[in-house]
């Protein structure tokens, strides 16, 4: 099994979620994170303009079977894409074992 971690623009989330569900990836976990990278945002506060590299992002953690991996990554690369600096990253790593707490199933059976 593989873990796909995607760091995306928060505002792209709805689109990404829908696309994932369309290919049958209907299980994942996400949270709000802050990204540091190339992108900067301009702000003004009480007369001082400043720019920050710390930008709100959404982090998705999706555990999928090897077969689903490619499709999942492709969907992420396509739907989270705007072409402008700051689209985010996708990281893939290995999950050795997975358990569904409800049924104590393991392996890919536990994934969805």
């Amino acid at each position: 099994m593989k873990k796909v971690e995607a760091i995306i623009r928060s505002e792209k989330f709805q689109e990404v979620k829908q696309a994932l569900q369309e290919i049958g990836v209907v299980f994942f976990t996400y949270w709000e994170a802050t990204g540091v990278g190339n992108e900067t945002h301009g702000h003004v506060y009480r007369g001082v303009a400043y720019s920050t590299t710390d930008i709100p992002r959404r982090m998705l953690s999706i555990v999928v079977s090897e077969e689903k991996l490619d499709e999942t990554v492709q969907v992420l690369l396509n739907t989270a894409h705007t072409g402008k600096v700051g689209d985010g990253k996708v990281f893939v790593s290995t999950i050795e074992e997975a358990y569904r707490i409800r049924t104590k199933e393991t392996g890919t059976k536990s994934l969805n």
Binding site: S10, E11, E32, T34, H41, G42, H43, V44, P56
Partner: protein
């Protein structure tokens, strides 16, 4: 004696001014609580600007348009000149039968004026352009509100006709409500609100702030209705406070029961809207109703709110805070109620009420349609899609309302 009476009345009227002022905070909080965190500063900014605009345009032209005085008044339009020069006896009891000074008069009316635009602010929230809204507010508060106001309160044709609207169910609330309705129609719904036939819920980000807002509105309404007696007359003012509170309670109660029966939920935002609906409902007639009349007017308002909110959603009209339901639906209902309950009830009166509602509705509707359409053509009405998705605060104001918090 005369001077003492003058002083008492004037103290009461000043208290009412202060109470109506704080209603603007009430509106602001009600609105931000029922919308998303990313647009909070924007909504607050609009509300703050509305008071400023209200007071200043009313100083410049509004007061002279709404209360031109006998010499300049016409049936439908009058104007006594720019600014608010102090009339000769403006600070003496002669000015208004010992009820208040010219300045008190002006300020009380100015506080009312801003209300009409504030009502709109909530309905069009989360998608209207700041500059567009400010332009709208200037024209609406500076011209539209005082003109219709004059028709009745300034001695115009509706007054002659016998139309009755004690504190402004129609002249204030419906005037705001019509513009709110036209505004959301021309703006369209927020992105994601009506997707593929189903209604998507966009929950407000802070129900506590909305609740504070509703409480402050009720608080301020003591002044809104109580001050509309235009003197401290004990009999009239105390009756008005009682009918106001009973209608508010009845509105909350009926909204509570009706929502529970219909949706099997104890929906606080609906109960709050019910209370506000009851307040708007009684506003046209708080001085001429008995206890049970007030109860009935409020109770019907509470139910109308629930029906109206559902109806608008069905028609894909997106009003995040329920402004149209509260101010227009219950404003119309309250104005009609003058002809149905209480000491003025009767077919003749009902007809006058219908004429008044229609005349104001047509004028307010057409003018707001005109202003909003023009803004739309000038591309000053709606923010860009990106801005709407990312939030108006970061785009129009350069910062977030809650800088250290992560909102979804």
């Amino acid at each position: 004696m005369e001077n003492l009476n003058f002083a008492i009345n004037n103290v009461w009227m000043m208290l009412c001014i202060i109470l109506v002022f704080i209603m603007h905070l009430g509106f602001s909080l009600l609105e931000i609580g029922l919308t998303r965190a990313k647009n909070t500063i924007n909504i607050l900014f609009k509300n703050v600007m509305v008071i400023i605009i209200g007071i200043l345009t009313y100083t410049l032209i509004g007061f002279s348009l709404m209360y031109p005085g006998e010499i300049f008044a016409g049936g439908i339009l009058g104007f006594s000149g720019f600014g608010i020069p102090l009339p000769e006896n403006g600070l003496s009891p002669e000015y208004a039968g010992g009820n208040y000074t010219f300045y008190t008069d002006f300020l009380f009316q100015a506080m009312f004026a801003a209300t009409a635009a504030t009502i709109v602010s909530g309905a069009v929230a989360e998608r209207i352009k700041l500059t567009g809204f400010i332009a709208f507010a200037i024209i609406y508060v500076g011209l539209v509100y005082p003109i219709t106001g004059m028709w009745k309160w300034g001695g115009g044709f509706l007054d002659e006709l016998g139309f009755y609207d004690f504190a402004g169910s129609t002249l204030v609330h419906s005037v705001g409500g019509w513009a709110a309705l036209i505004g959301i129609y021309l703006l369209g719904p927020r992105i994601g609100k009506f997707g593929e036939g189903e209604i998507k819920v966009i929950p407000g980000h802070s129900i506590p702030l909305s609740t504070v807002g509703a409480f402050l509105l009720w608080f301020g309404w003591f002044g809104f209705n109580g001050g509309s007696v235009l003197s401290a007359n004990p009999a009239a003012t105390s009756l008005v406070l009682v009918t106001t509170c009973i209608a508010a309670s009845a509105g909350g109660l009926s909204a509570f029961i009706f929502t529970r029966l219909r949706y099997k939920a104890n929906d606080l935002s609906m109960v709050l809207n019910g209370i506000l609906g009851g307040l708007v409902g009684i506003t046209a007639s708080a001085d001429v109703m008995g206890i049970w009349d007030a109860f009935l007017i409020g109770a019907v308002s509470g139910i109308l709110i629930v029906l109206s909110v559902a109806f608008l959603e069905k028609k894909k009209l997106d009003d995040p805070v329920g402004a149209v339901s509260v101010h227009l639906t219950c404003g119309i209902w309250g104005t009609l109620a003058v002809g149905i309950f209480g000491s003025m009830a009767g077919w003749g009166q009902l007809l006058s009420q219908v004429i008044g509602i229609s005349a104001v509705g047509i004028f307010a509707g057409l003018t707001s349609y005109g202003i909003f359409s023009l803004l739309k053509r000038l591309k000053e009405l709606r923010v860009s899609e990106q801005e709407e998705i990312e939030g108006l605060d970061v785009h129009e104001h350069g910062t977030a309302a809650y800088a250290e918090l992560k909102y979804e």
